[in-house]
Symmetry: C2
Subunit: 159 residues, 2 copies
């Protein structure tokens, strides 16, 4: 295994480990627990479930590896806060969305070629990418792993 393969493996392993831990946590929580705020006055577990699902779903677009499964989540869980008053899918639906996104995403990430991981993601222009070559897909994956862990630390308070 050369070093390029090794870093891709490291970054993918860190992502999948975070998904596994987050999934385990969601599965341990009842619907009632998820309906509560993770701390007084903060986001509900349901909102964070929808938020993390929407962020992961958006990776299909950002990496150019397929269509998002649930584009309707963007308005409620990315562009707006928990108390927006916008109607949310049920927790049963959101659990199914979370599972479907990860079931599709995991093999799609594994299928990205070595060279493609170091190419720009779709939110960077070719001009900017020449100046900032670290703005590649693998860097997005590192940042998304950190983002998911940030919220997992919060969701943990529901257990």
């Amino acid at each position: 295994m050369d070093q390029q393969q090794l870093f891709i493996k490291m970054a993918l392993t860190a992502w999948e480990q975070s998904v596994t831990r987050t999934d385990k946590l969601f599965n341990e929580l009842s619907d009632e627990q998820l309906a509560a705020e993770v701390a007084p006055g903060r986001n509900s577990g349901i909102y964070l479930l929808g938020h993390l699902t929407a962020v992961s779903d958006y990776l299909f677009t950002l990496f150019g590896i397929g269509e998002r499964l649930y584009p309707q989540l963007e308005e409620v869980f990315l562009k707006n806060a928990d108390k927006s008053g916008l109607p949310k899918p049920s927790v049963t639906e959101l659990r199914a969305y979370w599972k479907a996104v990860n079931d599709k995403l995991s093999p799609a990430l594994a299928a990205i070629t070595e060279d493609s991981w170091f190419e720009r993601h779709t939110a960077v222009t070719p001009e900017d990418f020449i100046k900032e070559p670290q703005r590649n897909k693998l860097n997005v994956l590192l940042n998304r792993t950190n983002h998911q862990e940030y919220h997992r630390g919060q969701i943990k308070f529901l257990s």
Copy 2:
């Protein structure tokens, strides 16, 4: 910049970004805010300040890049939980420790050579490293970044 340099830069940038954000958060919180539990019945801000300081301090040992500054933190903030009853340093002392560790760690990380990042860390035996070459220093840095973000998401509730 070759891909090896690029990946090291990505991992170091993610770490430093997490340190900067965590530091900003600690600085925004008063001593009284830090004394509170981040959520009912959970760790206090003071414990998490000590915990993150101890974890970062331990990187000197793990990477073989120097002596820890505050080995005494291990017992209170790594081996024991918040409610252990063990005496803790004052919040003023802990803030100073957090700053001193990061002030020393940041240039020490920047000075690690490219090849050294892909070498085993001191908690892996040479035999295990042959079988699991991803257990290198850079992988530890990725995991520590995730760990810090996990707790930053919790500390955020004090603000």
